[in-house]
């Protein structure tokens, strides 16, 4: 505005970049990778890097969709059970029909139905989303346990392609993750509903004032999350090959952790499309580093928890300091 303001804005372009939500996790990831590249030669091998991404592809895929729910100011904790349930559908269709396409479509459809139900409970039923999706989480897990009481379900080798195959020399899970990421970018950047997601999460009151379709947008976000679970189910089941009723227990929290670690605010509005991928890869890199350095497996969760806690705390302190300066 004033000359001073403009000058500050120009010179502050760099600072503005630093204020972006994905800056801190990206900086942390690069720093971590740099340290690992020096200390652990095996880390930088292409195979290792690709396998890291392949390992986090399932979490990343679901997190990309869950990210939209969180950006819109809601939350979805049902993804763990939903992933398992979709895998069950995938397995059932694969075992009767075979192939990959039909099972995947069936799983995605199943996911869409449950996601839509979540969305309706939140928008029409006006149940707080954490409760609604917690209920779905428990119900689906219950069904899983009952259904799978017969034992372990395995997948015919031909139907494991989504989890194991390579296309163009790249693991299919990585391609799927990348594809979903592109779709998410397209949706969030280039559709009106996608832009509305950010607006609703940023200032719900103003969104209502302007007359944005809040209910429809949230319903869509929940449905997309369900569909992403269906898609990820093919990858997940393909990778593990055998499905137990307790599969993917606690997965929902890894999804939320990926979203939050990647820089999306849990209270909505603030964040980026790439956040969940960043967060998932960050977790993957940390776990990989522990494995490469022969850190006992028992330390994994502790170190992961500690890093998440330190990361979010530092970010909070950074914001506090910035707010005090302003």
């Amino acid at each position: 505005m004033t000359a001073l303001d403009v000058a500050a804005a120009r010179s502050g372009r760099r600072r503005q970049w630093a204020a972006r939500p994905e800056f801190a996790p990206l900086a942390f990831l690069i720093l971590l990778a740099a340290v690992l590249a020096v200390t652990t030669p095996a880390f930088l091998a292409v195979d290792n890097l690709v396998s890291i991404v392949a390992q986090v592809a399932v979490v990343g895929t679901v997190a990309l969709a869950c990210n939209t729910v969180i950006l819109a100011g809601e939350i979805d904790v049902s993804t763990g059970s939903l992933l398992a349930a979709c895998s069950l559908v995938f397995g059932a269709v694969a075992n009767s029909v075979g192939g990959v396409m039909l099972p995947a479509l069936a799983a995605i459809a199943a996911g869409a139905v449950v996601g839509c139900a979540n969305g309706l409970l939140v928008t029409v039923g006006r149940i707080p989303s954490i409760i609604a999706t917690l209920g779905t989480l428990l119900m689906l897990r219950g069904i899983m346990l009952v259904k799978a009481a017969v034992g372990v379900i395995s997948l015919p080798d031909a139907s494991r392609a989504l989890g194991l195959d390579f296309q163009l020399g790249v693991p299919v899970p990585v391609l799927i993750l990348f594809g979903v990421y592109l779709a998410a970018e397209l949706f969030m950047r280039n559709t009106t509903l996608g832009r509305d997601v950010m607006a609703i999460g940023s200032n719900g009151r103003a969104a209502r004032f302007i007359g944005l379709p809040i209910g429809r947008v949230k319903l869509l976000c929940f449905t997309l999350t369900g569909m992403s679970c269906g898609l990820a189910a093919g990858v997940f089941f393909g990778q593990i090959g055998q499905l137990q009723a307790t599969a993917a227990t606690g997965f929902e929290l890894r999804v939320i952790a990926a979203v939050v670690l990647g820089g999306t605010s849990i209270t909505g509005g603030r964040g980026s499309v790439v956040a969940p991928v960043l967060g998932a890869i960050l977790v993957g890199v940390i776990l990989n580093a522990l494995t490469l350095n022969a850190v006992p497996e028992t330390f994994e969760q502790f170190i992961l928890g500690l890093l998440i806690l330190v990361a979010i705390s530092l970010d909070a302190i950074r914001h506090r300091v910035a707010a005090r300066r302003a």
Binding site: L134, T298, F299
Partner: protein, 323 residues
């Protein structure tokens, strides 16, 4: 509950007490129906014995009621339970006298609860995110300390805490739990601290303007949660006479479900111990009855989830009509 309407918590209290009555009626119908349709289930022994299982989550639910009334949430309770158990077990293994190990365990529980509270209170982070992180941290700590091994060399006196029956039928922990329930109810309804807990959940800013230190209040609430997690841990460890890192895996969700089914609003400011207790009893006995009838106990989770959604659906929409 109606007695307090003299001191008057108002509409919320009236709504809460009518909801409590509804839950109580539901519980009675449930037990009666199970008694009729599941022959042999409805016995005093059976009812009492089941309490051994749900008391541990019941203790967590008591603390969780306080946390959720303040408008917060704690996902780390089950992990903390495992951590405390492992701390007790492996410090005992390392040669610490068991009573000292237990004190150490309780200290761990309170300390970890305070850690949650401090981060929530002083950094202004959302409790969901904070306790999601400490959930992994505490569980991970349990794995590190135990090296993924189990410890079960507990002396006989210790295992009687969770396995002793008074007069052959009454599990020893039941009276303990009953006393703690009454204590929690009195603290919540009758003390200045309880008043502040309600006030914090309804309007944090007004609490600050009333000259109350909000940060200290949050510290106390999460610290109390940690203490109760430690007590639950001791009882469970004693009952199964084993400490291992994967104890109580996923227990936080049914605990939250019981509290919310009991009428505590996740947005804070309302909720009762009686409601939580009823939520707990309804879920536990339904599961127990079905299991007794030979229906897979796995339906329990489904029913928990369905009741949770239905209960809150009824609650929210009934509240809307009234308001």
């Amino acid at each position: 509950m109606t007695a307090i309407s003299g001191t008057a918590i108002g509409k919320r209290a009236a709504a809460a007490s009518s909801r409590t009555m509804l839950l109580a009626a539901f519980f009675v119908v449930e037990v009666a129906a199970l008694g009729i349709f599941v022959p042999g289930w409805l016995t005093v022994d059976g009812l009492l014995d089941t309490s051994r299982i749900f008391i541990e989550s019941g203790l967590l639910a008591l603390g969780m009621t306080f946390v959720i009334i303040t408008g917060g949430i704690d996902l780390s309770v089950a992990s903390l339970l495992a951590l405390v158990s492992v701390v007790i077990g492996f410090s005992h293994q390392a040669g610490l006298p068991l009573p000292v190990a237990m004190v150490l365990g309780i200290g761990t529980g309170v300390g970890c609860g305070l850690l949650n509270g401090a981060i929530v209170a002083y950094l202004g982070l959302h409790p969901l995110v904070v306790t999601l992180a400490t959930m992994a941290l505490f569980r991970g700590g349990a794995y590190v300390i135990s090296n993924a091994a189990a410890y079960s060399e507990y002396p006989a006196w210790f295992t009687t805490i969770g396995g002793f029956y008074i007069g052959e039928v009454l599990p020893a922990q039941l009276p303990v739990f009953a006393v703690l329930c009454v204590l929690a109810w009195m603290i919540l309804e009758k003390t200045p601290f309880g008043r502040r807990v309600y006030g914090l959940g309804e309007n944090e800013q007004a609490v600050r303007f009333s000259g109350i230190n909000v940060a200290h209040l949050k510290l106390k609430v999460y610290g109390l949660m940690g203490l109760l997690a430690a007590l639950a841990s001791i009882i469970e460890t004693s009952r199964i006479s084993t400490s291992r890192a994967n104890m109580a895996l996923g227990l936080e969700l049914p605990v939250i479900a019981a509290v919310v089914l009991g009428g505590t609003k996740v947005t804070g400011g309302s909720g009762t111990i009686a409601g939580t207790l009823l939520g707990l009893l309804i879920l536990s006995y339904l599961q127990d009855g079905l299991q007794f009838a030979g229906i897979s106990s796995d339906w329990g989770l489904f029913i928990t989830g369905a009741l949770l959604v239905l209960g809150v659906l009824v609650n929210e929409n009934a509240g809307r009509n009234r308001g």
